[in-house]
């Protein structure tokens, strides 16, 4: 199911002159754009009462997220977290998985049983998160152990966590376990300065979260998460290091979420100083400016890509809206794979 970049607006001819890095940048930018557009749509559907439960945006975090998604390969393992719409797209999750899961379509991968960001396709390496923060880290580690047991080489496993999620016992136990097993795990920490409303001063006391790396015996990397170029480089490098057998990699990115924790939240607690400072830059704008500055594409091309993202989003939403909702009478209400053992 992993699709190549689907788009009507292909790179214009001139782009054949771009370097590989530049092409990757543009491709990453387009996933970011699509993520931004689809999430804006979700937010508007939420305001319109069309979505049950929460809507969680990654606004401001797309550069970091896409860098991870685009650095992974098809057969890798990836457990996205709440703010990973861009990474999901870049890794190959169909856009429809997003709209279907949010809107509860029976045809979505979670069939209306689970919602919003709790989606995935384990058979295709996208592990669906449970809500408990940190819980996916050991799971990715275990998936990598399985690959090793099965003699499959060259896999990287990646997952993300927030600044708040680093306080969980799960984060600690599993990063340590991965280090002991020297697994090719890339753990990206998006330090967006808040866990829901809680600032980092109430979350940890170390100078920088990357200082944790040495205590696990893993390689640590820092990056400005508002800068797509830097994120691509640092995250890409970490993925390469993991793939080359250097064990777990901890990437700590600094950024700010430019939205509420979820769409029910206005994020009023975010300090104005932070919003106005370097972390408050919108990574999408920063990437756009670089594209224009470097003449990797024209404003007209950007506009076309934006239109394309909007079209894809509208199509996905329209299709999802046409789809059947879950029907309780057609549910088997059976939790077990071994149906005959069900007490249902």
């Amino acid at each position: 199911m992993l699709r190549p970049m689907a788009s009507t607006a292909e790179f214009p001819r001139a782009h054949t002159e771009l370097s590989a890095t530049e092409k990757t940048f543009l491709q990453a930018y387009r996933w970011m754009l699509l993520a931004r557009v689809v999430e804006e749509k979700l937010a508007s559907l939420y305001r319109g009462g069309k979505i049950f439960g929460g809507v969680f945006l990654s606004k401001g975090q797309e550069a970091l997220s896409v860098s991870l998604g685009i650095s992974l390969r098809k057969r890798d393992i990836f457990a996205p977290l709440i703010r990973d719409q861009a990474a999901r797209l870049a890794f190959g999750e169909p856009l429809l998985d997003c709209t279907r899961t949010y809107m509860g379509s029976r045809l979505g991968p979670m069939r209306g049983r689970d919602g919003n960001v709790h989606r995935g396709r384990p058979a295709e390496g996208i592990l669906p998160m449970i809500s408990h923060l940190g819980a996916m880290i050991p799971t990715v580690a275990g998936a990598l152990m399985a690959r090793r047991f099965r003699g499959i080489q060259g896999t990287v496993g990646a997952t993300c966590i927030g600044d708040g999620g680093t306080s969980t016992g799960a984060f600690h136990e599993s990063l340590n376990l991965a280090a002991v097993e020297r697994l090719p795990l890339v753990l990206v920490v998006a330090n967006n300065q808040y866990a829901y409303s809680t600032p980092t001063t109430r979350q940890f006391a170390c100078r920088d979260l990357v200082d944790k790396a040495v205590g696990y015996g893993v390689e640590g990397h820092s990056v400005d998460g508002t800068d797509l170029l830097a994120s691509l480089q640092v995250v890409g490098h970490a993925v390469e290091r993991a793939r080359a057998g250097h064990g777990p990699q901890l990437v700590v990115a600094s950024l700010l979420r430019l939205a509420g924790h979820g769409e029910h939240d206005d994020g009023h607690y975010v300090s104005p100083g932070l919003k106005e400072g370097a972390l408050g830059r919108d990574c999408l704008k920063v990437a756009e400016e670089r594209i224009i500055d470097q003449a990797w594409a024209t404003r007209e091309e950007l506009a076309l890509w934006h239109e394309d993202a909007q079209r894809q989003t509208e199509e996905a939403v329209a299709q999802t809206l046409r789809e059947p909702l879950p029907d309780p009478s057609q549910e088997d209400w059976c939790s077990l794979a071994s149906r005959h053992l069900s007490e249902g």
Partner: protein
């Protein structure tokens, strides 16, 4: 008018006001006032006594136990009941055993925003009261009314034992009362939420309201159904339940939790062993289905008992 949620806030405000040993600890409970606003303005009104915690449920509960040993009366807010699984060990193995092992009390209150809401999904909807009630040393409360939310939370803080306080998220905004109570029933005593002579429904928390609605429906058909609100599930007020079954002869236990071994199993076991001869027909129970709690409202509405399924089950029992 005051909501169930506001009653919880008011109870905490009163506890903070009246007892310097009380503090509140949990994620986002400070300036922000909590994910559900159950601690709204409390950090501002009681500076230094309402603290934001890191995302560390195990350490949060562990620290509350230590503080209790040193004379405090912590209130811990879990952001959702479902996340208490991460602090499970401290709750069931440390808080619950402390007094029995050492004769030192462990007066902590752990607030669990519990139960299903539309769109909550498998990890923001759970009802964990049966899990905690299984463990010796814990008191488990599950208030169904605004009044109880208030007075039982005050009781929880006053009690010298660890209390797991299961407050229902669905009731947070839906349930309103004229004013806060000045009197309360004693802890451990069930309440007859509606009197009736034809059959007894024993239930608690949000299911009290579904059951009352079912009783309304059945009243239109001429049946008088008694509805018992357990209030606390441990201790469980067997006496009140048996007295009601003695009057009606028929029992339906209703719970929102998973079916295997929940509160309803405990009710049926007690009535069967202690009130067998009071029963005119086999006792029944109605629980959620034996799957995780589904996300989509279409599924969720079928997963848990509702007035409709309760009245259907009761009708079947009455017409046996």
């Amino acid at each position: 008018m005051i909501t169930y949620l506001e009653a919880i806030r008011e109870a905490q405000a009163k506890a903070l006001r009246d007892d310097p040993r009380v503090y509140i600890y949990g994620q986002d409970v400070g300036q922000f006032g909590g994910a559900f606003k159950a601690t709204k303005n409390l950090a501002q009104e009681y500076p230094g006594r309402v603290l934001d915690a890191p995302i560390s449920e195990d350490a949060i509960v562990g620290s509350a136990i230590g503080a209790a040993m040193e004379g405090m009366r912590p209130i811990v807010e879990m952001q959702f009941a479902d996340f208490s699984t991460v602090g499970f060990n401290q709750i069931v193995n440390h808080a619950a055993t402390l007094h029995w092992r050492t004769a030192v009390p462990c007066p902590i209150t752990i607030r669990l925003p519990s139960g299903g809401t539309a769109g909550g999904g498998p990890f923001h909807s759970q009802s964990m009261e049966a899990i905690y009630a299984h463990y010796p040393g814990l008191i488990v409360m599950a208030p169904a009314t605004v009044e109880d939310a208030y007075s039982m939370l005050l009781e929880a803080v006053a009690i010298d034992d660890p209390v797991v306080f299961c407050e229902h998220k669905y009731l947070y905004y839906h349930l309103k009362a004229e004013s806060l109570p000045t009197e309360a029933m004693p802890t451990g005593k069930a309440r007859i939420a509606r009197t009736g002579r034809d059959a007894t429904i024993v239930t608690y928390s949000a299911m009290v309201h579904e059951s009352l609605a079912a009783a309304d429906e059945l009243a239109a058909e001429g049946w008088e159904i008694e509805v018992i609100d357990l209030r606390t599930v441990k201790p469980l007020d067997t006496d009140t339940v048996l007295a009601s079954v003695a009057r009606t002869g028929l029992l339906l236990a209703v719970g929102e939790a998973f079916p295997w071994g929940g509160v309803t199993a405990e009710i049926l076991a007690r009535v069967a062993s202690e009130g067998f001869d009071l029963l005119d027909a086999p006792p029944r129970r109605l629980n959620a289905k034996d799957t995780p709690v589904p996300y989509h409202p279409n599924l969720w509405g079928t997963h848990r008992p509702t007035a409709r399924t309760i009245s259907a089950e009761m009708r079947d029992l009455l017409r046996r």
